[in-house]
């Protein structure tokens, strides 16, 4: 019985830490949807770009050029991933979302255009980095804390800490700063916010940059615990969508709860059903959710549009 309990707690811990990674990715999607009513399909590929940026910073630039030791190099790489994500977000905002918004395109054209960006990013990275997985060796992934019978890697502690800090910072930004208030105003009613003197284009660009920076950091956190290939992020997009749908599009709290839930469900799926079935289980949940309350979800969106 105690063995069962230990296993249960161990998998819950693993699940929470996976869930934190999903939340970091899904929050960006839901943030963009809340403000813009658009999906950035390339969002998860920003995770891959962040992971590669961190990898090259940690293993090449920081250690060899700056001569910073292991842990310092890895922590520095988090910031380069953040920068890479933010830069990509700005590019996609300026090159795809802004022109399509100006031309008054329907809701599906930006989705299709960002599917193109996603395909381009994945295969561009494939051409650059090759298909062979990279071994991103974080010093923290090697260290393990032991609490009783539980094993917790230092990397997972860092993942939980960084995502908690990022979520707290995001909330503080939304609640206490003028830009955050402007962002919420644009999310509520873009036209009226514009009439109140809010520069809506700036707010939308900022939202996409913040969302993409989160994705980049998620990449740096994810890199050391998975096999790093150009398609690492692509495998996340399905789970990120699941978080966003189950949590309710544009609903930040819902997305956080759904992300943690999916992380825990994934951990238990690996334990009891096998790792091959994760995507099946998560997507069956997503489809079930869409069947159970599709009208609720769609009706909510319609109200916003009228």
């Amino acid at each position: 019985m105690t063995d069962f309990l230990t296993l249960f707690i161990q998998q819950s811990v693993n699940g929470v830490y996976l869930g934190c990674l999903y939340v970091m990715v899904a929050l960006g999607l839901t943030l963009i949807y809340g403000v813009l009513n658009q999906i950035n399909f390339a969002h998860a590929d920003f995770v891959t770009v962040g992971a590669f940026a961190a990898f090259f910073t940690a293993t090449r630039f920081a250690t060899r050029v700056l001569g910073i030791p292991d842990t310092g190099a890895y922590l520095l790489s988090l910031f380069s991933a953040l920068g890479a994500g933010a830069l990509l977000g700005w590019l996609v905002s300026a090159a795809v979302f802004a022109p399509l918004r100006r031309s008054g395109a329907d809701e599906l054209r930006p989705l299709i255009a960002t599917i193109g960006v996603s395909v381009l990013l994945e295969n561009g990275q494939l051409a650059l980095f090759g298909p062979i997985p990279y071994q991103f060796d974080s010093p923290l992934a090697r260290e393990t804390l032991r609490i009783g019978k539980l094993f917790i890697s230092a990397q997972s502690v860092l993942v939980v800490a960084v995502s908690a800090a990022a979520i707290a910072a995001l909330y503080a930004f939304m609640r206490f700063t003028f830009m955050g208030k402007a962002l919420r105003a644009v999310a509520q009613d873009r036209e009226t916010a514009g009439l109140m003197g809010i520069n809506e284009n700036l707010v939308i660009a900022l939202t996409i940059v913040i969302a993409s920076a989160l994705a980049g950091v998620a990449g740096a956190l994810l890199g050391p615990v998975v096999v790093l290939t150009p398609f690492t992020g692509a495998s996340l997009i399905v789970k990120a969508f699941a978080c966003v749908i189950i949590g309710g599009f544009g609903n930040m709290e819902g997305t956080i709860v759904a992300g943690l839930l999916i992380g825990v469900i994934e951990a238990f799926t690996v334990q009891y059903l096998g790792s091959g079935l994760i995507d099946l289980v998560v997507f069956a949940m997503l489809l079930a959710m869409l069947v159970v309350r599709p009208t609720g979800l769609v009706a909510e969106r319609k109200e916003e549009n009228v």
């Binding site: 999906i39 994945e122 295969n123 009208t295």
Partner: protein, 305 residues
């Protein structure tokens, strides 16, 4: 003779002549692939272009056509043609099942649900090893006809037949109904259109046509592995439809031909094929939303003021 009849005769002549202009085995293979892509683009265009339903799950129907026909032939000893018919029916029926979602979901939600459907299908192909052989794959699959030229005539002939069928369909009142649903579902419903039934019709027919293309794929490449049916296949079909011109009949055909041959003409760049698809998709949506067809018509309109 009407213009339409002349075009059909020209198309038939083109199909007949092409394998004798591109005589190497490699290029004849590309021709077969192109005919298959035309079928797939036509199938997606019916759902996405004419009915206005963004469906990211079309790769699943391509997969179902390929797997059902191959398994019936290989494991149950069926003849190719009855197996093909069963596979097309199976794809169509699963298409109707996806339509059950499409009648309740719109826009982004439908896009994600259909994406989920494609991912689930792909995962089932990998995990249901006792039937699909999983990632090991099925090997030594023979095409229904003896050589590549015959296979090209067969698939291209079917593609032309499907084109004419769909062309008649979209000119008929059914086409008007589908377009009405695309433009404004609520107005269409207020005029007595049962949107759910007609969406199901479009999804089912589109799925059956994608399944039809899938029937010929395993025999053409000789092997069957799940990786041939990832969601990237849905995106390449979408690229063909969008680049050619969504919601026109000839557009997806042009898109399929251009996007099949363009990467071949730029060979030596290895991974560039999919990069071109991604770039083309983004650039066309940004700068030429009606695709090649619209660009051509607006160019002609400008020349004749």
């Amino acid at each position: 003779m009407t213009l339409r009849r002349i075009s059909v005769i020209l198309a038939l002549l083109g199909i007949a002549v092409l394998p004798w202009l591109l005589t190497t085995g490699y290029w004849r293979g590309i021709l077969v692939l192109c005919a298959m892509n035309v079928l797939l683009a036509l199938s997606l265009n019916l759902v996405m272009g004419y009915t206005g339903q963004l469906n990211l799950g079309q790769s699943a129907f391509f997969a179902i056509g390929a797997y059902v026909s191959t398994i019936l032939v290989k494991s149950h000893g069926w003849n190719f043609w009855p197996a093909a018919l069963a596979a097309i029916l199976a794809s169509g029926l699963v298409g109707l099942a996806l339509a059950a979602f499409a009648t309740r979901l719109k826009g982004h939600y439908l896009a994600i649900a259909s994406l989920g459907f494609a991912v689930i299908t792909y995962q089932v192909l990998i995990n249901w090893e006792s039937v699909t052989e999983g990632v090991r794959g099925v090997y030594g699959i023979l095409p229904p006809v003896p050589n590549t030229v015959a296979l090209f005539y067969l698939v291209a002939g079917i593609a032309l037949a499907v084109y004419l069928l769909l062309d008649n369909l979209v000119r008929s009142p059914v086409g008007d109904t589908l377009r009405a649903i695309r433009e404004d579902e609520i107005s269409a419903a207020s005029l007595g259109v049962n949107a759910a039934v007609w969406k199901a019709f479009a999804f089912g027919l589109g799925a059956a046509i994608a399944g039809l293309a899938g029937v010929f794929y395993p025999g053409f490449v000789g092997t069957l592995v799940p990786d041939a049916f990832g969601i990237i296949e849905s995106f390449t079909m979408m690229a063909m439809v969008i680049v050619g011109g969504m919601g026109t009949m000839i557009g997806p055909v042009i898109g399929a031909v251009v996007l099949t041959f363009l990467p071949e003409l730029l060979r030596g760049f290895g991974e560039l094929r999919l990069m071109i698809y991604g770039l083309a998709l983004t650039l066309v949506v940004l700068f030429m939303p009606g695709g090649i067809v619209q660009a051509y018509t607006s160019l002609r309109a400008r020349r004749r003021p």
